[in-house]
Symmetry: C2
Subunit: 328 residues, 2 copies
């Protein structure tokens, strides 16, 4: 009798993300934030005529737009991030578009991050984690729902609100990015408060570091990452010190004003450990480009130019992992 | 020629909520938190047999359960709160159940609070507020989506992340409850940090107070409320002082251990200004009650007993607005 034992070892989230970044030579993540006010007129017209229900029309429009954007960038970009708010505002049909987008992106080899900023207590946090990362117990079986690679998590409730997500990172090789220091003007109102020389954002950074312990991948990074706004470059080295094993998700590039030079501050000395985010400036690049340019071509050109800017700045600072003299 | 001008003045959220509490003589809010693991077996079996798709079956099961619970408590309870996580974990079908539940509850005269704990920056926060409180711009018109009476909001991003919700409170007579001091054990990790004698939760309390200015209803309360855990009774008077115009949403009663006597600390001296929350101990009361008792009857009995306990404690402390010697 022959026994066959199949053991599938899934790479950790951090190794998968950094692996894709190295393979595509591009440390950027593109936000699929389908703001209906910015959709190409041709798509809007087509779906408005095709569907009686406005929410159905919006959901189908969003899914079509996202698929075409994914088609045009998937070979040069390692990951996409879906801002949940733009899907939720189209009701249940919006969530179908969220699900369809996540499935399509995964099929095209992209790492999919859900920007859901969730967190709650007890059973509720567990339900959120089940929904986005893990599996849901339904009628006696365990079912994946959105099955994303990672989500963003809000830390206001403390470790209780984060641990169920961390547990699913361990169980299903997923990742999270905890909000540490955000890019918006009023972020200082809470995140800079503190006592004994430790601000709230630094306390969260320490918590993030602790939660990732024991889960460090081959890349040296844990699946418990941090959101740190691109305009927080002065904090970059302090936060890096507090979270040496966390991948930084850095929003604020492009439309929000962050430059490629700023972005370089968030990488480690090997040029790893961060992924730079832009949304509007890429997916809606057609608004600014020459009259009549196709939104798909405009998005690809913007994604290429973002990548080239960042890589140039990385090379300029000697922090590029695929450069000849790299320390990798 | 005759001109008719119709002016509809919508009562503020705070006046509507407190009005319903006075009318029903019950300052409680019941959580419709449809944990699939706790659903009555009869419902689970019925919908599992009826629907091929497990998520569709779960969504329909949740909606049916919620409707029957609403039927059995709507005449004695002023408000319900929907914990979004339990809906989201059933995928898009779960969100349809969320929408259906909100519509049904509203039709039955209940005030509907969405426990979504959302918040983001810029356009994204606006999209969340559009979805849950306001209206969404779609194909040239403005459409309501979930059209709830109020939602919970997470303050980690500062006032930027809250203001679009406040704007919709003003525009559409809606309300919010900002997380100030939560009931979970690890809430102290962040919420107790602080400098200059002001903790994070106190800083949030001040922000909440400021955001509600200029929107005070006839009841003396603003639509910008606060979530304060029932086990934070020592903080109750400090937080009340910092937010004299905010209604407190007080979770942690029942299954989470808060007593009626604890709850009384959160009311003002007239016996107003707070709404006490329980979920599991009411909607899943059938699990603990006598064998074979109907879940609807068990829920009604539990809701009545919760109301009676709180009102008894209010009377005991002289803080009952419908008592003969009330200061109202």
């Amino acid at each position: 009798m022959i026994y066959r034992i199949h053991v599938i070892i899934m790479k950790s989230f951090s190794d998968r993300l950094l692996g894709e970044i190295l393979k595509k030579r591009n440390p950027s993540i593109i936000g699929l934030d389908p703001d209906m006010a910015k959709m190409p007129a041709s798509l809007l017209e087509y779906f408005r005529d095709k569907e009686k229900d406005m929410f159905e029309a919006a959901g189908r429009c969003i899914l079509e737009f996202n698929k075409r954007i994914i088609d045009s960038i998937h070979d040069i970009v390692p990951a996409v991030k879906l801002q949940s708010a733009f899907y939720e505002q189209c009701g249940p049909a919006g969530f179908r578009a969220f699900l369809g987008t996540a499935e399509y992106a995964r099929r095209k080899g992209l790492i999919v991050v859900g920007d859901v900023k969730r967190s709650d207590i007890g059973n509720s946090t567990m339900a959120y984690s089940n929904a986005y990362l893990g599996k849901v117990p339904l009628f006696g079986s365990l079912e994946p729902v959105y099955d994303l690679d990672a989500v963003t998590v809000n830390p206001y409730l403390g470790s209780d609100g984060i641990k169920p997500f961390v547990e699913d990172c361990r169980k299903y090789s997923k990742g999270i990015f905890v909000l540490v220091r955000t890019s918006n003007p009023s972020s200082s109102e809470l995140q800079d408060l503190g006592s004994g020389g430790v601000t709230v954002s630094e306390a969260v950074a320490r918590l993030v570091n602790r939660l990732g312990e024991g889960m460090i991948g081959e890349s040296g990074y844990s699946p418990v990452g941090a959101v740190v706004g691109a305009n927080r470059k002065r904090l970059a080295s302090r936060l890096r010190k507090a979270m040496p094993r966390s991948i930084f998700l850095v929003p604020g590039f492009g439309a929000q004003g962050g430059s490629a030079k700023d972005a370089v501050n968030f990488f480690d000395e090997r040029g790893l450990g961060a992924v730079i985010h832009a949304a509007r400036s890429v997916i809606f690049a057609y608004e600014k480009s020459g009259k009549g340019e196709d939104y798909r071509e405009a998005a690809r050109a913007a994604a290429e130019s973002m990548r080239d800017d960042i890589v140039k700045a990385m090379k300029g600072s000697g922090k590029c992992p695929w450069q000849a003299n790299s320390k990798l």
